[in-house]
């Protein structure tokens, strides 16, 4: 039985993280999961800048989730300035983030998680035998990319969305093109569900509660209250129930909900809002191993696969409803105001908050990423899970621990931001 395990570079996740684990007599005596990314300073960078710059600047937090940061920042700024967006703007924003959700889930499932379940070191090693599956992943990634490029005018860091609307609207033919591209990957998403439902997942239950936005009208995406069976909270008062704190060993903040650990992400959304999945999504859920209120974090991968089915259906529905009309962005007053944007993104709930003064300048910003919210739960899950595999060889324990971490689909690049700067 190994006494200490140090993973200086946890592989096949977004960004860089480290784990220090010490054991004695089968018990874990130390478990420290930390982000080792450099501090990002984004909340400081946007201070003093104009409100209409926040979304473009914060989109650089991550190349994987750049659309998510754009839309969360826009929602927060519009909340602060009382801007009401049109239905068309809302639907196009949903569609843009659906593209990103599809690209992100397909990439994580096939390139980072699948090698674990098939016993390969990497997707490259898997390619000769599982070419069909990887081609299917590439098709889904391509479709997701295509949506982002058409709507956002770029593959990464979209530039078309702005405060109050869109700087460049897509043409109706492009919306039809998106619908067709989604139609083409429908079967791929269903097969992804079947594949991820066929694996044997370790039996393990987390003690953290699963939280997501809850929207009585639909499966949560761009709005809702934050909740679970542990309670429902108004997003504007998020700082009353969510607290960030810093541990000296990590460059990412830890986040607690009323002093307790919690989890966000695909499984949280399925747990809180599974009944709002599309018919196809519900069918996929029924066929999966996920039962009501699953507490097994490994099931998050299955939940992501189910969401792929749902997102493709939702995207097609939006395309069918959209009849693009020429619209100028709604004008915003300069300020003052404070606003909170909370949206569901591939890895969970993303929070952006801005205070804006009467000159339209940002005076305060706060961003809480899904991975920061999951960090404590991941760490404590590892602490509680490891004793069940403590009798195995060190290499096997490492694989099991990495698998557990990867099931959360963490993005450590986005979560690293704890450093506080004193402003003169």
């Amino acid at each position: 039985m190994p006494k200490e395990i140090t993973l200086n570079h946890i592989t096949k996740i977004e960004g860089h993280a480290k784990l220090n684990l010490s054991m004695e007599g089968g018990k874990v005596t130390k478990c420290e999961l930390s982000a080792t990314e450099g501090s990002r300073y984004f909340e400081g960078i946007v201070r003093g800048r104009k409100y209409y710059e926040a979304h473009e600047m914060t989109s650089r937090i991550c190349g994987i989730c750049s659309c998510a940061h754009v839309i969360a920042a826009l929602s927060a700024v519009e909340d602060a300035l009382g801007v009401q967006i049109s239905e068309q703007t809302y639907k196009l924003r949903e569609l843009l983030t659906l593209g990103e959700r599809i690209r992100s889930h397909a990439t994580h499932l096939y390139f980072l998680a699948l090698p674990d379940y098939l016993g390969y070191e990497s997707a490259l090693a898997m390619a000769p035998k599982y070419g069909k599956e990887l081609k299917s992943a590439l098709a889904m990634m391509k479709a997701g990319n295509g949506i982002i490029r058409l709507l956002g005018s770029r593959d990464l860091h979209p530039v078309s969305a702005t405060v109050g609307g869109w700087l460049k609207l897509p043409k109706q033919e492009q919306i039809d093109e998106i619908r067709k591209s989604l139609e083409q990957i429908r079967t791929d998403t269903v097969e992804t569900c079947e594949l991820f439902s066929s694996f044997r997942y370790p039996k393990f239950e987390t003690k953290g509660k699963f939280f997501s936005l809850i929207n009585p009208k639909k499966y949560p995406m761009l709005e809702g209250s934050f909740g679970s069976d542990g309670g429902i909270f108004d997003k504007s008062k998020y700082s009353d129930f969510i607290k960030e704190y810093h541990e000296p060993y990590s460059s990412a903040n830890f986040v607690v909900r009323q002093d307790k650990r919690y989890a966000v992400g695909a499984l949280s959304r399925i747990n809180t809002s599974g009944k709002q999945l599309s018919k196809e999504g519900q069918k996929a859920l029924k066929k999966s191993q996920i039962r009501e209120n699953s507490k097994n974090p490994y099931h998050n991968n299955m939940a992501q696969a189910i969401e792929l089915v749902h997102y493709v259906g939702e995207g097609m529905k939006i395309c069918e409803e959209l009849a693009i009309k020429d619209e100028k962005p709604v004008k915003a007053n300069a300020g003052p105001g404070r606003g909170v944007g909370a949206i569901e993104v591939p890895r969970g709930t993303l929070w952006h908050e801005y205070s804006i003064n009467s000159e339209g300048k940002i005076t305060n910003a706060n961003i809480i990423t899904p991975t920061a919210q999951n960090l404590l739960n991941m760490q404590e899950d590892i602490r509680e899970f490891v004793p069940s595999v403590a009798g195995r060889k060190k290499e096997e324990i490492i694989i099991q621990v990495e698998k557990l971490i990867r099931s959360y689909d963490p993005c450590f690049s986005c979560s690293a931001h704890f450093l506080e700067v004193k402003w003169a």
């Binding site: 960004g15 860089h16 990439t107 980072l112 490259l124 070419g131 590439l138 770029r154 593959d155 990464l156």
Partner: protein, 120 residues
Amino acid sequence: MKKLYVFGNEHLAEDRLARQVSRLLSGRHEIVHCRSPDELLECEDEEILILDVVRGIKEPVIIEDIEKVRAKKIMTLHDFDLGYFLNLMKLLGVERKVKIIGIPAEGNVEELAKKVEEWA
């Protein structure tokens, strides 16, 4: 018009030359500035033509054997780079000829552009 996929980052001194060179080309190609290698999936040309900076060379080179391009172990999705992607395409049997015009990280932009023009 045939596409020329140009990789690199204008903000990094050691990775900006391919983009600078692409601006001096005569216009025989449609220049696509790639932010992510999976943009190559969109390529419908018979041959994928790529311009990129290659580490450790002093003169421009043509690489047509993808196996010569090192595929890094994928640690994070940020490592999903050109080498990884081209190797993946080959393993998946994506039947496509690939020609990479590799240029050094440093050099005379105009001279390099002439060479690229000749080879592209």
